[in-house]
Symmetry: C2
Subunit: 216 residues, 2 copies
């Protein structure tokens, strides 16, 4: 069953939920029981208004005069983000970046399971990474027909990214988490979340020049 769709929530709001979630997890592990929107805002460098506005899109999680119970709010956000549902994933490209992602420690805790790892490199095929054997990429299409996979992760070089993405889409994947520096366009059929790592370095570089002046 799909969620009740009240009104569509803005993407800008959804992108902030994981930030709140991460910070609440930290607070919770430190034994902090309550927090107000203004305290939270200060720690995260946003406004209290924004936090209350964001949360109010999903329900009433606080108590007037008191604030938010950290444990409750954390769980509420986990629920909103669907972290209580399992998501099955495959990864293509078992280089350093791929391995870094596979070994991310919180995936399982949050319901994300890597079910298969694929690569073209004969030296990597057969290697064990986090308890899985790296398989030949030529087996990917079959793997997807035999397994119901939600998310495909692309950590290949840019040249192969589009081919892999096509296999993912034909294989019935619902979302692509793309780390290759290419623009993937599958309007509507599949959701694509791009993590264009190097682009953020260019942004940083621009802002450094702007703030401190360029070195030349």
């Amino acid at each position: 069953m799909s969620k009740k769709k009240e009104k569509p929530i803005a993407v800008s709001v959804i992108k902030r939920l994981p930030v709140y979630y991460r910070f609440l997890t930290t607070l919770h592990s430190k034994g902090v029981e309550r927090i107000s929107s203004s305290e939270l805002a200060e720690k995260l460098g946003v406004t209290a208004s924004q936090i209350r506005q964001d949360l109010s899109q999903f329900g009433n999680f606080g108590q007037r005069g008191y604030g938010y119970r950290v444990a409750n709010l954390k769980e509420a956000i986990a629920k909103i983000l669907g972290l209580d549902n399992q998501m099955d994933m495959v990864l293509a490209g078992a280089g350093n970046l791929g391995k870094a992602i596979i070994n991310y420690p919180n995936f399982k805790r949050r319901g994300f399971y890597i079910k298969g790892i694929f690569d073209v490199n004969p030296e990597l095929i057969g290697q064990e990474v986090a308890g899985l054997l790296v398989q030949d990429i030529s087996l990917l299409a079959d793997f997807l027909t035999n397994n119901r996979i939600d998310i495909g992760i692309i950590t290949t070089p840019p040249e192969s990214a589009v081919d892999v993405a096509d296999i993912f889409v034909r294989g019935g994947i619902r979302g692509i988490w793309n780390f290759a520096p290419v623009s993937l366009n599958y309007s509507g059929k599949v959701l694509v979340e791009n993590v264009h790592i190097s682009e953020s370095l260019l942004t940083l570089s621009y802002m450094i020049d702007e703030k401190f002046g360029s070195k030349s």
Copy 2:
């Protein structure tokens, strides 16, 4: 010398420049000579208006009735982003993610130079990565006083990220490229660009549930 500051450019605009740049680089390598804002828009999934609006903040790079010369526009954006200036960087955390970043092939071409790699792990210290020896993190502070470094990269586990960031800031670094899932707050003193990789997975997960319905 610092750039002429006409009017401050919106961050949202600056974040799109690397996208344009990447795509123009691809076009250029394919031998494409000209492109119109509407063609570019279609390929990138944005509006032609936005592209023209964005570019017009920095100058007039096109020709009415013709469009943009790919080579010219590419170079113009490189200039805006400061890719013709050298940026010296150090990296802390030589695990898989750190190695992935160090080996990114386009850094030098774009003026980004990694000058030092640091870690706490004795097994990594002394290892050679991309022509540099991994050094003990205890040497980082001294390294920064002896070398003029622009950008510090944090690819450590979250527990050590704040300590490393403090060393960076005391060492006179101007920007931090942070991959650790922590919120770094150095309002004003230093620029911080966060790449919270796992947060984008949570966003994707939410949107999949929203679009296709959750599996439960």
